[in-house]
C-alpha cells in the first residue's frame, strides 16, 4: 500500500528539519496527528487553529501533522485493525483541518497529488466501496471530490472539468448499473475531455475485461488497487 511519504516524495518543497521545529510546533503537530487518529473533527479544527496561532507553516502542518496520521489510519484499515467508520471519520477530521489550513498555503505550492472526482453511477445507491476508495485516496494524498451515489453521467464529467480533476472514478455494484460506466466514457469522449482525464471503474460486477471493453483506463479490483491506479494517473493520462 503506497501510502507513505506522499507529500514528501514529491519534493516540491524541502521539509523543515526536525531541529528547526519549535517545541510549540511539535506540540501542535502532535495535536493534529492525535485528532486524526482519534477520528475527532472538533479536535482537528482546534489543532489547526492552534497551528495557525503558533505560526506553523501550513504546509508543514499538513505534511508533518495530518498526512502521517491519515496514512496510519489507512494502513490500519488495510490490516482490518480498524473499520470503515473510523476510516471515514478520520477522513472527515482531516477535511475539517484542511478547510482551515489549505487557504493559507501560498499559491504555487501543491498540497495534493491531484484531484479525483468519484461517485456511484446513476441508478445505483451502493456506497460502501466508493466510500472506502474515497477515504483511502484522501489518505493517499489526493484531493477527493465525492459526488455521492446515483450520480448522473454528465455530473461526473462536468465536475471533473470544473475541479480540473485528473482522475474520474465510477463505482457500480449491480450488473444492471455497470452500463452507466460506459456512458461516462462515451460522454467524456464526446465532451472532448477524454485525453485530459483518466477514467477508472470499480465495483462488484466489474472486471478487467469490462474496463477494457468500455475503454476505461483502469479497473480497481479493490480499494488498494484503485489508489495505485490513481497514483499512476495523478499527472494525467
Amino acid at each position: 500500500m503506497p501510502l507513505r511519504g506522499l507529500f514528501a516524495a514529491r519534493g516540491e518543497r524541502p521539509f523543515v528539519s526536525r531541529r528547526e521545529i519549535s517545541v510549540s510546533a511539535d506540540k501542535v503537530l502532535k495535536q493534529l496527528q492525535d485528532s486524526i487518529l482519534k477520528c475527532d473533527s472538533a479536535a482537528a479544527v482546534s489543532a489547526a487553529k492552534a497551528a495557525i496561532q503558533a505560526k506553523v507553516d501550513p504546509l508543514q502542518a499538513i505534511e508533518k501533522g495530518l498526512v502521517p496520521a491519515i496514512e496510519q489510519v489507512g494502513e490500519k484499515f488495510e490490516r482490518m485493525e480498524l473499520y470503515l467508520p473510523e476510516l471515514m471519520l478520520a477522513g472527515d477530521a482531516m477535511k475539517s483541518a484542511l478547510d482551515l489550513l489549505l487557504p493559507l498555503v501560498p499559491k504555487g505550492q501543491k498540497t495534493s497529488k491531484a484531484t479525483v472526482v468519484i461517485g456511484t453511477v446513476q441508478g445505483d445507491v451502493h456506497e460502501i466501496g466508493k466510500n472506502i476508495v474515497a477515504s483511502l485516496l484522501m489518505a493517499g494524498g489526493f484531493d477527493v471530490v465525492d459526488l455521492g451515489v446515483n450520480v448522473k453521467t454528465s455530473v461526473f464529467v462536468d465536475e471533473a472539468k470544473s475541479k480540473n480533476a485528473k482522475v474520474i472514478g465510477a463505482s457500480a455494484l449491480m450488473s444492471s448499473t455497470i452500463g452507466s460506466q460506459k456512458d461516462i466514457v462515451d460522454y467524456l469522449s464526446a465532451s472532448g475531455e477524454r485525453r485530459k482525464r483518466a477514467f477508472l471503474v470499480g465495483g462488484g460486477p466489474t472486471t478487467q475485461d469490462w474496463a477494457k471493453e468500455i475503454g476505461a483506463d483502469g479497473w480497481g479490483k479493490d480499494a488498494v488497487s484503485a489508489v495505485k491506479l490513481a497514483n499512476k494517473f495523478a499527472k494525467g493520462r
Binding site: 482490518m80 473499520y83 470503515l84 471519520l89 446513476q122 460502501i128 444492471s176 462488484g204 460486477p205
Partner: protein, 462 residues
C-alpha cells in the same frame, strides 16, 4: 402493529439527520456501545459456538440497537424510530410459517430452531449473480429446478436485452425484469416443475419501476412467489424501496428483505456486524414489512461468507434469531472460489452447516463472489442442498469440529482463490449434467466429507 402508512409517517416526521451522521455517528457508535455493554466476543477457535448466553446477549444488543437507531430514510433525511413495544409487536405478529409455490411444488416454510432435525428450506440458484444471455439463464434455472431438494429458486440476473446492456430504471431494465419472470417460468415448465416459486423476485429489477412493470400476471409471477427487496446498508431505506414494498403488499405477496452487512463496514468487526445482522431482521419486519428475512453477510475483503469470522457471525445470528423469535430467516452464502474447485464446495459446506445447525434456512449461493457472468453452475447449489439436509439435527459441537477442519483447508487461499471454470466449461446443458472433470471433483469432495463424518447421497449422475 407498524404498517406501511406508519412507516411513511415516521419517515416524514422523524428526527432530521444527515445520512453521514446517521451511519457514522449514530449507528456505528451505538453498535460498538452494545458490543461493549453485552461483552460480545468473537472466538476464532470456535467458528460455531455452543453458547446460548452469547446468542441471547446478541439478540438483546440487537433489540436495543433497533430501538436506539431505528432506520433511516435517505429521501427525507429523517430517522424512522420505533418504540420497544412496536419492535416487540412486530416480532410477535410476524409469521412463523409461510406457503410458497403452486400445485405439487407448494411447500410450507416453517420456523426452525437450533439443532432442528427438519431440513432447511432450500432456496437454490445463483443468488442474483449475473448471466450473459437468455440461454445461460434458462440453462441455469432448468438445472436448479431439477435438484431434488429445491423448494424455491433464486435466479440469476439478466444483463442484456436485445443485445444492449441494461441501464437502471430504463425501458431495458423493465423489459429485462419482464423477461426474467417469463424465462423463469419457461425453465421450470421445461423440466416439469411448473409450480416451483421464484423467491428473489426479481433479481433483474433493481429499480421500483422495473419490478412494478413485471408484476402483471401475464409475465408469470404469482402471489405465491417470494418478493425480495434489498435493504441499503446500514438500516436505510428510500422511497424507491418503499414503492416496491407498497406494490408487493398490494398484490398480497410475501416480502423478504435481503440485507448484506459487510464485516469491516459500518458495524465494525465480527461482533458488531453480528449485532447489526440480527438488528436488520427486526428492522426488516418493521420498515420493509418483511414476512421472511434474507441475510447475506459478507467479508469486506473476501466478498464471501466462508472465513471464520463470517461462519461465527452466521451461526450466532441464526442462534440469536431462532432462540428468541419465530422469524423465518434464510441465510445466503457466497464463496470465494469458483465452479469445479474443491475449495468452492468446502466453502459452501461450511457456510451452510453454520446456518442450518443454528436454525436458519438457506439460500445458496453466490459463487466466486458472484462477480463474473456465467461463473456458476447447478452443481454448487445442489451440493449446498445435500449438505443442508445432511446436517439438519447435527449438534453445534459436532458442526464446529467439522467446520474447523473445512475452514483450515481453504482459509489461506481466501485472499487469492481459484476462480475455477465457467458454466459451459463444466456443465452440459443437453445432458443436464456436469463434465467428467467436475464429476471427479464432486466425488473426491464427497469422499472427503464422508471421512469427516458427513456421508452425502450418491450423485444422480452416477
Amino acid at each position: 402493529m407498524v404498517q406501511i402508512l406508519d412507516v411513511m409517517q415516521k419517515a416524514l416526521e422523524g428526527k432530521p439527520m444527515s445520512e453521514s451522521d446517521y451511519q457514522l455517528r449514530l449507528f456505528a457508535s451505538k453498535v460498538q456501545e452494545k458490543v461493549k455493554e453485552y461483552d460480545i466476543k468473537f472466538d476464532p477457535a470456535t467458528p460455531i459456538p455452543d453458547d446460548p448466553s452469547l446468542a441471547d446477549d446478541v439478540f438483546k444488543a440487537a433489540f436495543d440497537l433497533v430501538v436506539d437507531v431505528g432506520a433511516y430514510c435517505t429521501n427525507t433525511n429523517r430517522v424512522i424510530s420505533y418504540t420497544e413495544a412496536e419492535v416487540r409487536n412486530a416480532l410477535k405478529f410476524a409469521p412463523s410459517e409461510l406457503w410458497f409455490g403452486e400445485g405439487m411444488d407448494r411447500k410450507l416454510m416453517r420456523t426452525r430452531s437450533v439443532g432442528d432435525k427438519s431440513p432447511p428450506w432450500c432456496l437454490l440458484g445463483a443468488g442474483g449473480g449475473a448471466c450473459s444471455s437468455d440461454r445461460s439463464f434458462l440453462t441455469l434455472v432448468e438445472g436448479y429446478a431439477e435438484i431434488p431438494e429445491t423448494n424455491a429458486i433464486t435466479t440469476p440476473a439478466l444483463t442484456r436485452v436485445g443485445g444492449m446492456r441494461i441501464r437502471p430504471a430504463s425501458p431495458l431494465e423493465v423489459l429485462g425484469a419482464q423477461r426474467n419472470a417469463v424465462l423463469f417460468r419457461e425453465a421450470c415448465n421445461r423440466v416439469g416443475r411448473q409450480g416451483i416459486p421464484v423467491m428473489n423476485t426479481l433479481s433483474t429489477a433493481e429499480s421500483d419501476i422495473a419490478l412494478a412493470g413485471a408484476l402483471h400476471p401475464k409475465y408469470g409471477l404469482r402471489r405465491s412467489d417470494g418478493y425480495m427487496i434489498c435493504c441499503m446498508d446500514p438500516m436505510k431505506v428510500d422511497f424507491a424501496r418503499l414503492n416496491k414494498v407498497t406494490a408487493v403488499l398490494g398484490i398480497g405477496g410475501a416480502i423478504g428483505m435481503c440485507f448484506g452487512p459487510m464485516m469491516g463496514g459500518y458495524a465494525g468487526g465480527p461482533e458488531g456486524t453480528t449485532v447489526s445482522n440480527v438488528a436488520h431482521h427486526m428492522m426488516g419486519v418493521l420498515t420493509y414489512q418483511s414476512s421472511w428475512l434474507l441475510p447475506f453477510p459478507l467479508h469486506l475483503r473476501y466478498v464471501s461468507s466462508s472465513c471464520r469470522e463470517l461462519l461465527w457471525l452466521i451461526s450466532v445470528t441464526g442462534q440469536a434469531v431462532s432462540r428468541n423469535t419465530h422469524l423465518l430467516t434464510v441465510n445466503l452464502n457466497y464463496t470465494s472460489a469458483g465452479p469445479s474447485t474443491p475449495m468452492c464446495l468446502y466453502e459452501t459446506t461450511a457456510s451452510v452447516t453454520a446456518a442450518v445447525t443454528a436454525g436458519m434456512h438457506i439460500e445458496s449461493l453466490g459463487v466466486a463472489s458472484n462477480k463474473e457472468e456465467d461463473r456458476t453452475t447447478p452443481v454448487e447449489p445442489r451440493i449446498s442442498a445435500e449438505v443442508g439436509h445432511a446436517v439438519a439435527g447435527m449438534s453445534l459441537a459436532d458442526a464446529n469440529q467439522m467446520v474447523l477442519k473445512l475452514v483450515q483447508s481453504y482459509e489461506k487461499r481466501l485472499a487469492d482463490p481459484p476462480l475455477g471454470k465457467t458454466l459451459y466449461d463444466v456443465w452440459d446443458p443437453e445432458r443436464r449434467r456436469p463434465s467428467k472433470e467436475y464429476l471427479r471433483v464432486v466425488r473426491d469432495y464427497k469422499k472427503k466429507m464422508s471421512g469427516l463424518g458427513l456421508p452425502l447421497r450418491r450423485d444422480d449422475w452416477d
